[in-house]
Symmetry: C2
Subunit: 206 residues, 2 copies
DNA sequence: TAAATTAGCTTACACATGTAAGCTCAAAAT
DNA sequence: ATTTTGAGCTTACATGTGTAAGCTAATTTA
């Protein structure tokens, strides 16, 4: 990589990081202006265009990058669970830790999921689909769950986790701990329910 | 009511309606400008202030009004269910009908729930709390569910319904029908799971 | 009937935005 | 060694914004 391409990559990262750093509970991506991001990254507004066609392109990059980050960290958490213990409990704890250390990564997914840009909603939906898909396969491989049911179960779980994540963003540590406990109950409830539905549909086995 | 107060009320309604009508998949409340809303309502921009302190006040009014509308329609649906049939099925169908005829009422709740204004998030949270509360009481009165469990169950149900509603907004009738069916399965799953957890915690009864 | 109130108007201002045009000068290619 | 490329810059412009100041005219109150 030439010295030139290297510097370009560095500036591009500065732009992405600047955008992520400007996100907060009070500030969504769509409320950021090109000029603000450029200012934070220490480049002239018009230089922005050397890296992204427009703000949308930057935002979509952030969604992709964010989804990837989140999935990687959740996978790490699942590995932790292989050593023993409740997968649900450990996954929830991992999720909450990720949320605490990377709130803005989760924020952009959360906000743009119900945002006003169809491309953004699509990008977030794709990321969530990855979560659901991974979880479906995990469930199929660790239980005797019927594929279609495993899928519905995974969708429910991911929905509940994301919803709790959204609530957690507004909370302090102590409340968050309580929320995590409630989430664990919710997830166990879904798991139990899926089990029950499975038995109902396949009574011949018992 | 004097002829003057009457006209004022009429203009106020025109403002609220104008704002609701400008909402769409591509347009959130926070992206509306005071001038746009005033234009749509056929008044001068500065006259807006005769009715609302600022755009936030208009928005919070819309959230309150929207939440009320939604709850009223869901209550009507529950009455329909008293005549017989699955409460879950009928409630889901009612919800989907409401969504189809009042998409923007749901949109503002959905979007501002994860928006950038704490007051808005609070207002939406309060509306959702009403839903959860009503559903918790309903569950307690129709089953022998433990209060705390009924609450967690209701939270899960409302979360899943809202999530499905968000997805439904981007869909056409046929897809929506499929989504409704999946949602019914999810809700039954939660109900079954709650039942199972209840029996587990109170094995002495059986 | 006279005075007070007020919904809605017009005009005006300062400000932030996206982005077009065109320059510079160091790195890369020839 | 010379030419080409391109990342980043400065300047400039048109547009939409929130809202302050102050007028008008019709309703309401006294």
């Amino acid at each position: 990589m030439g010295i030139r391409a290297l510097q370009k990559e560095k500036t591009r990262r500065a732009l992405v990081d600047a955008a992520f750093n400007q996100l907060s509970a009070e500030r969504s991506f769509s409320s950021l202006s090109l000029r603000e991001v450029a200012r934070e990254a220490n480049i002239a507004p018009t230089s922005f265009y050397r890296h992204f066609k427009d703000m949308n392109e930057l935002g979509l990059t952030m969604v992709d990058e964010g989804g990837l980050t989140l999935r990687q960290m959740m996978r790490k958490g699942r590995q932790r669970a292989e050593a023993g213990g409740s997968v649900i409990r450990i996954s929830v704890d991992t999720f909450m830790e990720v949320l605490e250390s990377n709130p803005n990564v989760f924020r952009i997914l959360l906000h743009e999921r119900s945002g006003t840009s169809a491309p953004f909603r699509g990008a977030v939906a794709r990321e969530i689909e990855h979560f659901i898909s991974e979880l479906t396969h995990y469930t199929e491989s660790t239980t005797q769950r019927h594929p279609a049911l495993a899928r519905v179960q995974a969708e429910s779980l991911v929905t509940l986790v994301f919803n709790a994540g959204a609530a957690a963003l507004d909370m302090k540590r102590v409340e968050r701990k309580k929320l995590a406990d409630q989430l664990v109950v919710q997830l166990r409830m879904v798991a139990k329910g899926a089990e029950a539905l499975q038995k109902k549909q396949l009574p011949k086995v018992s």
